[in-house]
C-alpha cells in the first residue's frame, strides 16, 4: 500500500493549472461543487448543512445551487445518516456525509466499521461503497473533552476504510476530489484550525491521489512525519530547529490509509532519525503504526530510537490552562529533536 512520493503538493504540473488563492473551506467547497456538477449521483447530507451552510461553512451556497434533494439537511441522527449513506452508496449513489464534529463519529461506528468497511470484502465485486464522510477534528479551542478529539487512529484499525487528512487548501481540494472519485468509503478528516487558512489552489480537476505523502521540507538530520494541522506545526518546528543547526525533513502524510510507507522509509533511510507527530493520544496512535513500520523495514538505518509527539493519554481538559498541557506543542517537537541529538553527542 505505497504510492510514489510527490515533492510539494501538486499532482498535475503547475504550468498547466491556473492557481487562485482560496481558503481551506473554499477549496473543500469547490471540490464538492465540481463533483455535484459533474455527477448527479453525488449528494450531501448532514446536520445544518442546508440554509446554514454547515457548522464550519463548507456547504454554504450549495442548497441554492443544487436544491434540497441533493443537499439534505438531516435530523440529529448520526448513526442512521451514515447507515443511510452506506445503503445509498451500495445501490448506486455517491453520498457525502458531514459529521459536525469528529467526536460524533462514535455514534456512527457500527455502520462504518461493521458495514461500510466490510461490504466489498464480504460480498465481493458485486458490492462497492463509494462514500465520503467529512468531519472536523482537533482541539485548541477550549471546547472540552467531547468536541476536541482527533480519533483518526481508531479508523486505521478498520481494513476497508480509507482515511485522509489534508493540511493545505490545495490538498483539501485535491484529496476531496480524489475521494469523491474513489469507490470505497473514505473518512475525510478536516481540522477546525485549518478552515480559515488560505493558499494557492489549482483550478479545474485537481486530484491528489490517496496514499501519497508530500515532502514539505527537505532535510538531512531528522524526519518529522505528521499530517493535518500538525503538518504545519512540524514545519514551523523545523524552521526553529534550523536556527539551532538541526536540518529537519518534514513529511505531510495527507493519507493515513493507505499509508505512504515508501516516502517515510526513504526519508528515514536518509536522515536516520524519526519523530512522528500527531494530535491524538500517543497510545495506539498513528505514530505507533509508523514507528512499527520503520522498526520493521528500516531498523538498521536508525541512529536513535524513534520518538513520538502526541497528546498525553487523557481526555482533553476544558480549562485554557490545561488544554495546551494535554495537546502537543511545537516546543515539544523542538525539544524532542534536540534530545535526539543530545543523546548521540
Amino acid at each position: 500500500m505505497t504510492g510514489a512520493a510527490v515533492v510539494g503538493q501538486r499532482a498535475t504540473p503547475a504550468s498547466m493549472t491556473p492557481m487562485r488563492e482560496l481558503t481551506y473551506w473554499q477549496a473543500l467547497q469547490e471540490a464538492l461543487c465540481d463533483a455535484m456538477r459533474r455527477d448527479p449521483a453525488v449528494f450531501v447530507m448532514g446536520e445544518d448543512i442546508g440554509t446554514y451552510g454547515g457548522a464550519f461553512g463548507v456547504t454554504r451556497g450549495l442548497l441554492e445551487e443544487f436544491g434540497p434533494e441533493r443537499v439534505r439537511c438531516t435530523p440529529i441522527s448520526e448513526g442512521t445518516i451514515v447507515g443511510a449513506a452506506t445503503g445509498a452508496a451500495l445501490t448506486g449513489m455517491r453520498p457525502v456525509v458531514e459529521i459536525m464534529f469528529m467526536d460524533f463519529l462514535t455514534l456512527t461506528m457500527d455502520q462504518l466499521a461493521n458495514h461500510a468497511a466490510k461490504f466489498r470484502y464480504m460480498y465481493g465485486p458485486q458490492a462497492r461503497v463509494p462514500m465520503v464522510i467529512r468531519t472536523p477534528a482537533g482541539g485548541g479551542r477550549c471546547y472540552g473533552a467531547t468536541h476536541s478529539q482527533s480519533l483518526e487512529a481508531w479508523f486505521l484499525h478498520v481494513p476497508g476504510l480509507k482515511v485522509v487528512a489534508p493540511s493545505t487548501p490545495a490538498d483539501a481540494k485535491g484529496l476531496l476530489t480524489a475521494a469523491l472519485h474513489d469507490d470505497n468509503p473514505v473518512l475525510f478528516v478536516e481540522h477546525k484550525l485549518l478552515y480559515a487558512n488560505s493558499g494557492d489552489v489549482p483550478a479545474g480537476d485537481h486530484r491528489v491521489p490517496l496514499g501519497c505523502a508530500a515532502l514539505r521540507r527537505e532535510g538531512s538530520d531528522v524526519t518529522l512525519v505528521s499530517y493535518s494541522y500538525y503538518a504545519g506545526v512540524a514545519l514551523a518546528a523545523a524552521e526553529e530547529l534550523a536556527a539551532a543547526g538541526i536540518d529537519a525533513e518534514v513529511i505531510d502524510l495527507r493519507s493515513l490509509a493507505p499509508l505512504d510507507t515508501a516516502t517515510i522509509l526513504a526519508s528515514v533511510r536518509k536522515t536516520g532519525r524519526l519523530i512522528c507527530i500527531e494530535e491524538g493520544p500517543r497510545t495506539g496512535g498513528v505514530s505507533a503504526e509508523i514507528a512499527a513500520v520503520v522498526a520493521e523495514h528500516a531498523y538498521e538505518y536508525l541512529d536513535a530510537p524513534v520518538r513520538r509527539v502526541g497528546a498525553i493519554d487523557t481526555p482533553i481538559p476544558f480549562s485554557p490552562a490545561l488544554e495546551p498541557a494535554a495537546l502537543p506543542q511545537r516546543s515539544d517537537i523542538v525539544r524532542t529533536a534536540r534530545e535526539m541529538f543530545a543523546c548521540r553527542r
Binding site: I76, C142, G144, T146, H147, D313, P317, L322
Partner: protein, 326 residues
C-alpha cells in the same frame, strides 16, 4: 407538592439566578473574558425550575449542552459553576469539564452533555439504580426536540417502558435545533406523540409557565415515584438567544423571537402571576433580584481571582482509585 410561600420564592430565585447567570456569561464572552463553547438557557428557565422544584436530593437529572439552567435548578453551587466556566481549579469539575460537561453527582446532577441525546440513556440508568436500590428516587432526562431524533431517545423510552423505570423524559421543545427549525426534521406536531409507540403516558406543558410545568412535572414524577413507570413530558418553550454565544442568528426570523420575548417571557409571566395572586409582593421580587445579582457578581469576582489548575493536574483523575470507596 404544595406551593408554599418559600417554594414560590425559591422558584423565582432559581429562574432569576439562571437568567442573570446566563446574561452574565454572554457579557463575559463578548468582553473576551471567557472562552469556550457556551449554550445559554435564556427563555427556558421555567422548564428547569418547574421540573426541579418537584425533585429532591435523591433524585437525578441528566442534562444537555444547554445545561447551566438544569444545574442551577438542581442546586449546583453557582460559584463553582462560574469558576468552572473560567477554567479554574475551584470549578465544579476543577476546570476539566467546562460548560458542556458540568456535573455535580452529589447534587444528583449527572452532567451537562456535549453529545446530543447522550443524557437520555444516562438518566435511564440512574432510574434503574433508583429502582434496584429502592431509593424511591426518580431520574429526569432533559433534552431538546433535536435530541428526540437520536436512536438513544427511542431506545431509552422503550427500555424504560418495559422495565417500568422511575424516569421522566423532559423534552424542551424550543422550536429549533441549532440552526434548523424543528418542523423541518420532526414529522409529528408534538414530540409527546412519540410516547405512544412505547405505551408511555405523555404530557404537554407550557414551558414558559412555571406553574404549568410544575404541575405536569409533579404528575409525572409522582407516577414514577409510586412505581407507575416513565412519562414523556414535552415543554413548549423558546430559546431567546442564539444557539451558542456568538451565534449571529441570521437564520431565525427576528419577529419570531421578539414575539416570544415580549409576550411569553417566563420571568415576567411568573412575576405577574404571583403578584396578582398575592403569592409574593414587589418587595420579595426586588429582594431576590438584588441578592441574585450580588451573588453572580461575587461568583465572577471569586472565579477571576481563583487559581488556574496546575499543569500537573492534567494527568490526574484519568482513572478512579479502585481501592477507595465512598
Amino acid at each position: 407538592m404544595q406551593l408554599t410561600y418559600e417554594r414560590v420564592l425559591g422558584a423565582y430565585r432559581t429562574m432569576r439566578m439562571i437568567r442573570s447567570f446566563e446574561e452574565k456569561l454572554v457579557e463575559l464572552v463578548n468582553l473576551g473574558k471567557m472562552s469556550g463553547f457556551l449554550h445559554v438557557y435564556l427563555g427556558e428557565e421555567a422548564v428547569a425550575a418547574g421540573v426541579c422544584a418537584q425533585l429532591g436530593e435523591h433524585d437525578y437529572v441528566a442534562s444537555t449542552h444547554r445545561g447551566h439552567g438544569h444545574a442551577i435548578a438542581k442546586g449546583v453551587d453557582v460559584r463553582g459553576m462560574m469558576a468552572e466556566l473560567f477554567g479554574r481549579r475551584t470549578g465544579t469539575c476543577k476546570g476539566k469539564g467546562g460548560s458542556m460537561h458540568i456535573a455535580d453527582i452529589d447534587k444528583g446532577m449527572l452532567g451537562a452533555n456535549g453529545i446530543v441525546g447522550a443524557g437520555i440513556p444516562l438518566a435511564t440508568g440512574a432510574a434503574l439504580t433508583a429502582k434496584l436500590k429502592k431509593t424511591g428516587g426518580v431520574a429526569v432526562a432533559f433534552f431538546g426536540d433535536g435530541a428526540s431524533n437520536q436512536g438513544a431517545f427511542h431506545e431509552s423510552l422503550n427500555l424504560a417502558s418495559i422495565w417500568k423505570l422511575p424516569a421522566v423524559y423532559v423534552v424542551e421543545n424550543n422550536g429549533w435545533g441549532e440552526f434548523t427549525p424543528t418542523d423541518y426534521v420532526v414529522p409529528v406536531k408534538d414530540i409527546a406523540e412519540r410516547a405512544r409507540s412505547y405505551a408511555m403516558p405523555a404530557l404537554i406543558a407550557d414551558g414558559m409557565d412555571f406553574f404549568d410545568v410544575f404541575a405536569k412535572a409533579g404528575e409525572a414524577i409522582a407516577r414514577a415515584r409510586s412505581g407507575g413507570g416513565p412519562t414523556l413530558l414535552e415543554c413548549k418553550t423558546y430559546r431567546f438567544a442564539g444557539h451558542y454565544v456568538g451565534d449571529a442568528l441570521a437564520y431565525r426570523p427576528k419577529d419570531e423571537a421578539e414575539k416570544w420575548m415580549t409576550e411569553r417571557d417566563p420571568l415576567r409571566g411568573f412575576a405577574e402571576r404571583v403578584l396578582s395572586d398575592g403569592l409574593l409582593n414587589q418587595d420579595d421580587l426586588q429582594r431576590v433580584d438584588g441578592e441574585v445579582s450580588r451573588h453572580i457578581e461575587d461568583a465572577v469576582k471569586a472565579a477571576e481571582a481563583a487559581p488556574f489548575p496546575d499543569a500537573s493536574e492534567v494527568t490526574t483523575d484519568v482513572y478512579a482509585d479502585s481501592h477507595r470507596r465512598g
